[in-house]
């Protein structure tokens, strides 16, 4: 428990630093947002009024704490372009992106661990080359191209689905998740290849250790040694890698949403970047950063389940 509490403290401090950096990054931008909102023709009074409305007339540190306290209560500020709360703009879109992220993460874990064990059990030289080549090719295909291929094969040739014909989870969970299978797989496939490669080399280096040979000599079954001894140690670096993957998958889903025209945060983020609508970009960046920090926290907790030695350090 002490370990978890310590990690929780780190989590809170990290979140605080991340929010501060995200806030400051958008403060150093040259130019006055009111010029952009009202045009260059606007009077000085109108601009001052808008600045007061947006709270831009107050010192930076006060604005930061106001923004932060608003953020934890779910108030992400007001969009420069549309003058409506950012939280309203995100409300429908964010859950969709999260469903896609979690689904592709689930695919990554479910597919990569059995495949990694399988690849890790194959030790002959021929298999080594075959597995490495398959891995390298799969890793070289960008996720968005897998998405385009999936649209082409399943949408155009077999006509199993219509790209762009997305059903929101509010109408039907089944249809929504069904539509997301291909996008989620597109993100997962290159990740699976990377995880398999990682798990395989981890298993191979672990299998050469003395304790494994001892377990063999005592007549344990190969499968039992793999699951009970080798895998337990080999999984530790893989957990780190999967935590990194969870972060990459979230940004990957922003790209894949564009391929399959899924109404997640992607389109909003891109138009906000082009329109320099900073409060929206800032909110999305902080949300993604918070997700990454939390995933790393969960990974830290998982470590000590797999490897109790970590608690003692």
């Amino acid at each position: 428990m002490k370990y978890a509490a310590k990690k929780l403290c780190t989590l809170i401090i990290t979140l605080f630093i991340v929010s501060l950096l995200a806030f400051l990054a958008f403060q150093v931008i040259p130019g006055d947002p009111t010029t952009q909102m009202l045009g260059t023709e606007a009077t000085e009074e109108a601009r001052a009024a808008l600045r007061a409305e947006l709270g831009l007339d107050r010192p930076v540190h006060i604005r930061y704490f106001e923004w932060l306290s608003g953020f934890v209560r779910g108030d992400f500020g007001t969009s420069y372009s549309y003058r409506i709360p950012v939280s309203d703009m995100l409300a429908d879109k964010l859950p969709i992106t999260f469903i896609l992220t979690i689904m592709s993460f689930a695919f990554t874990v479910i597919l990569s661990i059995p495949l990694g064990i399988l690849a890790g059990s194959a030790r002959s030289k021929v298999m080594d080359v075959i597995i490495t080549v398959i891995d390298q090719i799969t890793m070289s295909i960008p996720a968005f191209f897998i998405g385009i291929l999936a649209c082409f094969i399943f949408g155009n040739i077999f006509a199993l689905f219509v790209p762009g014909d997305f059903v929101s989870y509010k109408e039907s969970w089944g249809a929504c998740l069904g539509y997301m299978v291909l996008p989620a797989l597109s993100i997962a496939i290159p990740r699976v290849a990377m995880t398999v490669r990682m798990l395989r080399s981890s298993i191979l280096s672990e299998s050469d250790k003395d304790y494994v040979r001892t377990a063999h000599s005592r007549g344990n079954h190969r499968r039992a040694i793999m699951v009970r001894h080798v895998l337990k140690n080999a999984l530790i670096p893989v957990i780190t890698f999967l935590a990194v993957s969870a972060a990459e998958i979230m940004t990957g889903s922003i790209i894949i949403e564009q391929v399959f025209t899924i109404p997640g945060i992607s389109r909003l983020l891109l138009t906000s970047i082009s329109g320099r609508d900073f409060p929206v970009v800032q909110a999305i960046v902080v949300i993604i950063a918070a997700w990454i920090v939390i995933v790393n926290f969960v990974a830290d907790l998982l470590y000590q389940l797999v490897d109790p030695r970590i608690r003692l350090k």
Binding site: A22, I29, I141, P142, I148, I273, V281
Partner: protein, 268 residues
């Protein structure tokens, strides 16, 4: 071990060598002008005249791919160059001198790598504005930590070796030891890092251009071409397939090369 490593090295080297040769050829000569419109030749499937067919404006896709791959290639090279030069500087100082600067720089690099490079690049591009130079700058900065970490490890390892100790005894200065004695010994590891970095740069640039926040028109990029081609997936599937195949070959060549290099280093 060594022979097998060379297999990856040969295949990877051949693919990336051919791609590089084609791209360099593309700087001087393309079969058609990449921007020439030809309304009578829209959506031509691949043929002898147009090996990759033509697009919605009747432009020759092969010429456009060569042109786009050239831009992607140059951007990736610049990104890797920025990452490598600053990474080597930071990594060598951290690894050789150690102490407080090491602690601070390592922490900073660690926190940068904790976030997806793509997200950070988005933030930098939002703040600085969309332009090719900003993309190079944003990705270049994000590539520094991985190089710095690799170089730091090598420097920290070499610092305690006998030949460095004897160089110190002969009165060689810090910078002479760092850059004349240690640096050449990191080249094998550095070269692997460069090939991996190059792949990541190609992939990041293609992703950003695919989303329309990378290279801006009139410059072509493989990512933006792929994004355009998606609208014509039904009428002209060869547009997307050929463009995608070029991205894959570009990445595959360098990743096989780095796999081969890693195996060769391990075999020694």
């Amino acid at each position: 071990m060594k022979k097998k490593g060379n297999l990856f090295l040969y295949i990877g080297g051949t693919i990336s060598g051919l791609m590089t040769a084609l791209i360099i050829l593309g700087f001087f000569w393309t079969p058609y002008s990449p921007t020439a419109l030809d309304s009578s030749a829209k959506f031509q499937p691949p043929s002898a005249a147009h090996i990759m067919g033509t697009d919605n404006f009747g432009r020759d896709i092969f010429s456009r791919v060569l042109d786009g791959a050239g831009d992607t290639f140059i951007i990736a090279l610049c990104v890797v160059a920025i990452g490598c030069v600053f990474g080597v500087l930071i990594g060598s100082i951290c690894g050789y001198i150690g102490g407080v600067p090491d602690l601070i720089l390592t922490r900073v690099c660690d926190s940068i790598t904790a976030f997806p490079s793509f997200l950070l690049a988005l933030v930098i591009v939002t703040i600085l504005g969309k332009s090719t130079a900003n993309i190079v700058l944003a990705l270049g900065i994000l590539f520094i930590p991985s190089f710095a970490r690799t170089v730091r490890g090598e420097f920290a390892r070499c610092r305690e070796l006998n030949y460095i100790k004897s160089a110190r005894l002969t009165g060689a200065g810090k910078f002479r030891i760092m850059f004349v004695h240690i640096l050449p010994n990191t080249f094998s590891v550095l070269f692997t890092a460069v090939t991996i970095g190059f792949n990541n740069a190609v992939l990041s640039e293609a992703s950003m251009s695919f989303l329309g926040i990378g290279i801006q028109p009139p410059f072509a990029s493989l990512g933006s071409m792929l994004s355009d081609s998606q609208a014509y997936l039904h009428r002209a599937p060869w547009y997307a397939l050929c463009t995608g195949a070029v991205i894959i070959l570009l990445i595959l060549g360098f990743s096989l090369l780095s796999e081969g290099l890693q195996r060769m280093n391990k075999g020694d």
